[in-house]
C-alpha cells in the first residue's frame, strides 16, 4: 500500500555495472562450474536413474489397460507442464509489457524450456492409456484420429516453439561466448551462433523472431493446456462439463510458472552469486504478478464452486464431492492455502514484496501447492471406473500412492531439473545483451535538488 516506500529505497546497483563485468558474469558458468552446481547435477542424475527404474517397474510393467497405475506418471507430466512449461510464457508477458526490470529475469524464465523434452516423452506414454473419443464426452466429437494425433501435434509444436524461443533469445549471447571462450567450449558456440555478427539486420531478425515465437509459444501453451485438461482430466470424469476448468488449469500453470522463476531467481541470488543482478526491483515486480495470479486462482475455483453450489443437480453434487470435498478434501485445502492464501496474505504487503525473502518463500509454497493440486486432479480423474456414464453415481475412493509412484514422481522431476541445469552450460546467464542494453537505456541524472532515473523508451 505505502507506495512512497518505493521511492525512498536506494537505487539498484545493476544499472551502474560496466558492460565488461556483465560479460564476465554471463560467461562464468560456462567457463567453469562451482561445487554447488556439481552437487545439484549429481543429485538430479541419481533422481533420474531412480525415476526411470521406477517407471519401468511400475506403470510399464502393469500395462496400458490399468489406467490407475499411470496416475503418477500423469501427475509428473502435469507438474512439469504447469511449471517449466509455463515459465517461458512469463518471459513472453514481460517482453510484451516491456518492463525495464525484466532484463535479468527473462533468460531465467526461458531456460526452463530445455527441460520440456521430459514431459513430451511422458506425454507419448500417457497417450497409450487414453481411450479414443468415440461415444464419450470430449470436445473432439469423433474427429478422426482424435485425440491422439491432435494432442501430439500440439505438444510437439509447443516444445519445438519453446526451444526456438530460447535459442533465438540466446543467439547473441552465444555469439559473445563464441568470441570470448577459447578452446573446445568455443566450438559448440561457433556452431550454435550461426555466424551472428550483430549487424542491424541481425538484431531486427532477432527482435522479429522473438516476438513471433513468443506469441506462438503462449498460444500453443494455452491450447495444449486446454486439450490436456479436457482429455486427461475432464473427459475421464463422467458428467464433468465445467467449462472453466481448462482456463483454471492454465492459470494454475501460469501461477506456478512465475513461482518457479522467482524460486530460481532466489537460488541464483543466494547460491549463484548474482545478487547484483537479481535485486529487490526484480522480486518486487515479479511478486506483483504472482499476487495477481494467486487471486485469479481463487477466482476461477470460486466461479466453478458457486455455480455447482447453486445448480446442485445430482451430477454437480457428485463433481463437488470428487474434486473438492470427499476423497481429496485435505489435498484441496493444502493447495488452496499455498496457491491462494499464501500469495494473498504474504505479498499484499508492499514492504514484504520489496524484500527478497517474502516473494522467494511464497514462490516455494506455490510450487508445493501446484504439486498437491496436480495430485488431486489426476488422482480423481484416473480413478473413475466407467467414463461413459452421464453422471458419476458412486464416488471412487482416494488413490493412495505406492512406493514406486513416489519414486517415479520424485525421480522424473529431479531428472527434468537436471536437464534444465545442463542448460546453464550452454546458455549464458544472465543474458548479456539484454542487461547491457538496459545499462545503456538507463541513466541517473540530477534533477533540481534530487536525483532521478531516466529510463529510455525507444518506441
Amino acid at each position: 500500500m505505502e507506495v512512497q516506500e518505493i521511492e525512498h529505497r536506494e537505487l539498484p546497483r545493476l544499472w551502474e555495472l560496466p558492460p565488461q563485468r556483465v560479460i564476465e558474469d554471463g560467461l562464468r558458468r560456462i567457463r567453469g562450474s562451482g561445487t554447488v552446481y556439481k552437487v545439484m547435477l549429481l543429485i538430479s542424475a541419481v533422481c533420474a536413474i531412480v525415476g526411470i527404474i521406477a517407471f519401468i517397474v511400475g506403470p510399464i510393467s502393469s500395462g496400458w489397460n490399468d489406467r490407475q497405475a499411470w496416475t503418477y506418471v500423469a501427475i509428473t507430466f502435469g507438474i512439469l507442464m504447469c511449471t517449466i512449461g509455463s515459465a517461458p510464457c512469463f518471459s513472453v508477458c514481460l517482453r510484451m509489457v516491456r518492463g525495464h526490470w525484466r532484463r535479468p529475469v527473462n533468460r531465467l524464465a526461458e531456460i526452463w524450456a530445455i527441460g520440456m523434452i521430459v514431459p513430451l516423452i511422458l506425454f507419448f506414454f500417457l497417450l497409450g492409456i487414453l481411450p479414443d473419443t468415440v461415444g464419450r464426452s470430449s470436445f473432439w466429437f469423433g474427429w478422426p484420429v482424435s485425440p491422439y494425433l491432435w494432442d501430439s501435434v500440439m505438444m510437439v509444436a509447443l516444445v519445438i516453439c519453446g526451444y526456438g524461443f530460447l535459442y533465438v533469445g540466446a543467439l547473441p549471447d552465444m555469439a559473445i561466448a563464441r568470441d570470448q571462450i577459447e578452446g573446445e567450449g568455443g566450438g559448440i558456440f561457433t556452431r550454435l551462433s550461426r555466424g551472428f555478427r550483430g549487424t542491424l539486420y541481425d538484431w531486427q531478425i532477432i527482435d522479429r523472431a522473438q516476438g513471433i515465437l513468443g506469441a506462438f509459444y503462449v498460444l500453443l501453451y494455452v491450447g495444449s493446456m486446454t486439450v490436456i485438461a479436457g482429455d486427461f482430466i475432464e473427459a475421464l470424469v463422467p458428467g464433468d462439463n465445467s467449462a472453466i476448468f481448462p482456463a483454471q488449469y492454465t492459470i494454475e500453470g501460469l501461477e506456478a510458472g512465475i513461482a518457479v522463476t522467482i524460486f530460481a531467481m532466489g537460488i541464483m541470488r543466494y547460491l549463484g552469486g548474482l545478487d547484483e543482478y537479481l535485486e529487490a526491483e526484480q522480486f518486487f515486480a515479479a511478486a506483483k504478478l504472482q499476487l495477481a495470479l494467486g487471486l485469479l486462482y481463487f477466482y476461477t475455483h470460486w466461479t466453478e464452486f458457486i455455480i455447482w453450489w447453486y445448480g446442485r443437480t445430482p451430477r454437480e453434487v457428485a463433481l463437488l464431492k470428487i474434486f473438492y470435498f470427499e476423497p481429496y478434501f485435505w489435498l484441496f485445502c493444502v493447495a488452496f492455502a499455498t496457491m491462494f492464501l499464501s500469495p494473498l496474505f504474504i505479498l499484499v504487503w508492499t514492504r514484504v514484496r520489496m524484500g527478497i525473502v517474502g516473494p522467494w518463500v511464497t514462490s516455494g509454497l506455490v510450487l508445493v501447492g501446484i504439486i498437491i493440486d496436480n495430485i488431486r486432479l489426476y488422482s480423481a480423474s484416473f480413478s473413475t471406473p466407467n467414463i461413459y456414464l452421464q453422471e458419476l453415481s458412486t464416488i471412487p475412493k482416494a488413490y493412495v500412492p505406492g512406493v514406486t509412484d513416489i519414486l517415479l514422481a520424485v525421480g522424473l522431476l529431479g531428472g527434468a531439473v537436471g536437464v534444465c541445469l545442463l542448460g546453464f552450460k550452454l546458455v549464458p546467464y544472465p543474458s548479456i545483451w539484454e542487461v547491457t542494453a538496459g545499462i545503456y537505456l538507463r541513466v541517473r541524472r540530477k534533477y533540481l535538488k534530487t536525483e532521478v532515473v531516466l529510463i529510455g523508451k525507444p518506441n
Partner: protein, 270 residues
C-alpha cells in the same frame, strides 16, 4: 395468501359460534405436519380440460381471451399440453396436464430477491403476491413453466363480477402467480380440524379444484407424509410413478403415473 381465516362464503367452514370455538380456531398448528402431494394418472386422463376450467374459476384467474393466446401470455395454473405423435394417417394426440410440481427444493425460490417465493412448512411452494416486485427471475428458473406473470391488469366481463372466489386474492398487474394446490381449501380443512378437537386433517378432506372437477378421477391429492393415505397407497400399488425432469434433482411433489399404451410405452414422456 388465502383469505382471512374465517371468511364468508367458505362452504366447508363452519363459522365460529362462540369465543371457545374462535380460540380453538386460533390455536397453533397440531404437532403433525402434512406434506401435500399430487398424483396424476395419465392412463385415466382424457384430456377434457375440466381441471383447467375448474382451476380458472376457483383461483380467480383472469379469462384467457384470444389475444392473450396471440400474445402467448395465457395464465393457466394447470394446463394441458398436447403433442402430436407420429405422422398422418396414424397420428396420435398425446397430452399431459401440468400443474405446479411443488418441488421440495424448488429452483424458483432462492432466486427471488425479496422472499416473495418461499417454501411453506407443509411443502407447498408459495408465492407472496404483496411482496412480489416482478423481477420474473423465478419464471426464468422454473423449468416446468408453471409460473405466470400478470402482464396486464386483470379484467373480467361484468357478468362475471359475482363469480370471483372471495377466498383468493385477485392478483394485480406486475406480479407472478402460480398453482397453490388450492391452499385456501387446505386452510379451511385445517381450521375445521382444529375446531373439532385439534385433530389431523383426514385423508380426502382436502380436494383441490382440479381433482374435484376431474371426471375420470385421474388426479389424486393427499398427504404424502401419512403412510396410509390414498396417494401413498396409489404410488405403492404401481410401478408407473415418475417425476418430470427428475434429473434436475429438485424432487417434485407432483407425481405422474405412466400411460399404459400397447403401441408406444414411453408416450407419457412428454
Amino acid at each position: 395468501m388465502a383469505g382471512p381465516p374465517n371468511s364468508p362464503g367458505a362452504q366447508q367452514t363452519q363459522q365460529p359460534q362462540s369465543t371457545q370455538e374462535l380460540e380453538k380456531m386460533q390455536q397453533p398448528n397440531p404437532p403433525w405436519l402434512p406434506r401435500w402431494g399430487m398424483v396424476i394418472d395419465l392412463d385415466r386422463c382424457t384430456g377434457c380440460q375440466a381441471c383447467v376450467v375448474a382451476c380458472q374459476a376457483e383461483n380467480n384467474i383472469p379469462i384467457n381471451t384470444e389475444e392473450m393466446y396471440i400474445q402467448r401470455r395465457p395464465i393457466e395454473w394447470i394446463r394441458l399440453e398436447r403433442y402430436w405423435d407420429g405422422a398422418y394417417p396414424d397420428i396420435k394426440a398425446r397430452f399431459i396436464p401440468v400443474p405446479c410440481m411443488q418441488c421440495s427444493e424448488a429452483p424458483c425460490e432462492p432466486v427471488c430477491p425479496v422472499y416473495a417465493s418461499v417454501h411453506t412448512t407443509e411443502g407447498i411452494n408459495m408465492q407472496v403476491y404483496n411482496r412480489c416486485i416482478g423481477t420474473r427471475y423465478c419464471s426464468v428458473n422454473c423449468h416446468w413453466h408453471v409460473r405466470f406473470f400478470n402482464f396486464w391488469q386483470p379484467k373480467w366481463p361484468d357478468s362475471l363480477d359475482q363469480q370471483l372466489n372471495p377466498d383468493v386474492t385477485v392478483r394485480s398487474r406486475g406480479v407472478m402467480e402460480k398453482c397453490t394446490y388450492c391452499v385456501q381449501r387446505i386452510n379451511h380443512a385445517e381450521q375445521n380440524a382444529r375446531i373439532d378437537g385439534n385433530r389431523a386433517v383426514k385423508d380426502g378432506e382436502v380436494i383441490p379444484a382440479c381433482a374435484q372437477a376431474c371426471p375420470s378421477r385421474a388426479i389424486t391429492f393427499g398427504d404424502t407424509a401419512d403412510p396410509n393415505s390414498r396417494i401413498n397407497k396409489l404410488i405403492a400399488s404401481t410401478d408407473r410413478a415418475y417425476q418430470i425432469l427428475a434429473e434436475l434433482g429438485t424432487n417434485p411433489q407432483t407425481l405422474y403415473l405412466k400411460k399404459i399404451d400397447p403401441y408406444t410405452p414411453a408416450a407419457a414422456e412428454a
